[in-house]
Symmetry: C2
Subunit: 331 residues, 2 copies
């Protein structure tokens, strides 16, 4: 049933070595045999056994993409960017996730690095540390981090400080002076950068930073936003704007709860999100937010990793992409 090089070789009256060379477009093959071999290969509907090839070449032509979870639109959009650019690239994408696994994150990394099942790794995560990823370097498995700047690793990320600063500038210029900042506890460095951007903007406008205006949530969900709104509301003097570097879903939760409580958006409270998820256009009023170029991040990531795998890149490479402030109705 399954056709091998040998089968073709026999019918063509040559050796499997010759057939291999033809299949792989190697030079120094006579036109005659090349044609004959290709013809027979087609007739027999030959496809190379990629596993066998992988063993011989020590290359799997597969890329591992590690995501925290698939429940986040942000992650999924990056994945989509990876996949759609991947169309033109002869690498298979293998999907791994890190939450709720039986093995720990570093166990997964270790295993992936050593099992030789993938040629390179794209890790989408805001929170990994460089040490955790050292295993890949040790095993010389090319790797790249998306959504977080890593000094000593290839990475693709956005200028979070600028994104947050743009958003805050906008609110200040609209006349707001008491601006809440809703951060998330589990988003590591990028969240710190955004907080810095918020502070920087305040400072530039001679507004004093107040720690009691910073609220921390656990995750980027509507629920978190809903839970945060009461705290915003009870603050005195009155908060007139809420910037949510924690993410659009938090901002949406705040909007929903505010409306429920009779607080008008944006008249009584302006709300600005972060990410620009699809839901930002659905909520009413639609959400003003800081767009992260998610598809582009995925696109860069896959191109960079392939370059690395194929030895086209040396040294550590970073790609910083700009955010874009998207003005809609909520602010």
């Amino acid at each position: 049933m399954t056709v091998t090089l040998k089968d073709i070789a026999e019918r063509a009256g040559v050796t499997s070595a010759t057939v291999s060379m033809v299949i792989n477009n190697k030079p120094n093959i006579s036109e005659a045999t090349r044609k004959k071999v290709l013809k027979i290969a087609k007739e027999l509907n030959y496809y190379p056994n990629v596993i066998a090839r992988g063993l011989a070449t020590k290359k799997s032509n597969a890329i591992g993409v590690i995501v925290p979870n698939l429940a986040s639109s942000f992650i999924v959009r990056i994945l989509q960017g990876i996949k759609s650019t991947n169309r033109d690239i002869d690498y298979t994408v293998q999907l791994f996730d890190t939450v709720g696994q039986k093995e720990s994150e570093s166990q997964l990394f270790q295993r992936l690095a050593r099992e030789r099942r993938i040629d390179g790794v794209i890790l989408i995560s805001a929170t990994v540390t460089e040490e955790e990823l050292n295993i890949f370097r040790e095993e010389s498995v090319p790797s790249i981090v998306v959504a977080r700047k890593c000094e000593n690793l290839d990475s693709v990320y956005v200028n979070n400080e600028q994104g947050a600063s743009d958003a805050t500038d906008y609110l200040v210029n609209k006349g707001h002076r008491v601006i809440a900042c809703i951060t998330s506890s589990k988003s590591g460095l990028p969240m710190q950068e955004r907080l810095e951007g918020y502070k920087r903007s305040l400072q530039q406008h001679d507004i004093e930073f107040r720690a009691d205006l910073v609220f921390e949530v656990d995750d980027d969900t509507m629920r978190s936003g809903i839970g945060t709104f009461p705290k915003i509301k009870e603050m005195n003097p009155r908060i007139t704007a809420a910037f949510c570097p924690a993410g659009d879903m938090v901002a949406i939760g705040i909007i929903k709860e505010a409306k429920k409580e009779g607080v008008r958006i944006p008249e009584d409270l302006c709300v600005v999100g972060y990410d620009d998820l699809p839901a930002a256009e659905v909520v009413e009023p639609s959400l003003t937010t800081v767009r992260q170029p998610k598809l582009e991040m995925g696109d860069y990531a896959i191109n960079m990793i392939v370059d690395k795998i194929e030895g086209r890149e040396a040294g550590i490479k970073h790609k910083e992409l700009p955010t874009k402030f998207i003005i809609r109705e909520s602010a």
Copy 2:
């Protein structure tokens, strides 16, 4: 750098065959050598080369998941179900998509079936035909279709007719008599079934089916819904309810455009979606809809495919899941 069975064998003073048996927990190994081998394996941080293993066993321990595209929350949720159940299963997920690829769908199927890179395939698609999937059967690669009933193939799907009928019943019972039905042109059999459910419900309530109340859109997007609203509005006698088997995003588009035009939801127009995507809770008013158990579909799919791969299932197996009518504010 990379540690093989042979390395362990040498240090342990045994053969690689013995080491292999230890690693794979085969019986008939003395406790002494078992312990010694495992100890050395641990010391050397041994991980089996899965490619080599795959060649020897003719098994890749990988499952291909083919999706139309990752832009659809519906698809992504199923994928999420697959992945989260996959946690406890020792199979890797490889991701493939079918839209915008350089190769056609059947070329992809052919390649996957013959390259021996995966042990089985989950195909998420409402539109595949059974012929297209024959290639997998021919190559004895277990396969399963999700989101569409296939007589002669394993499949996981919902009772679409019932789902649509439930929704229509609800609207009729609320007193509606002129109910639009917005279908999608690219969703194959499931959409036909939903249309049947709509018709069946009307019939049971002695309401005449009118073809001019059926509107067809191209895809499940807000844009499609926005484009459809004018047609709904101009109909006479007045349409008082719109059921959107085409999907939640279409329903959301209709809601948004209706509000813009001063049509109140649900007072002037009731809207019911299909799928129950995350956005259904975000839109205002929140969307009454027919929930498809997306995570469960993924869960069943991966369990079934693994059973098939491991020979635990014979014959064609179908799993029909129920939909659930979710009442929110839009109807």
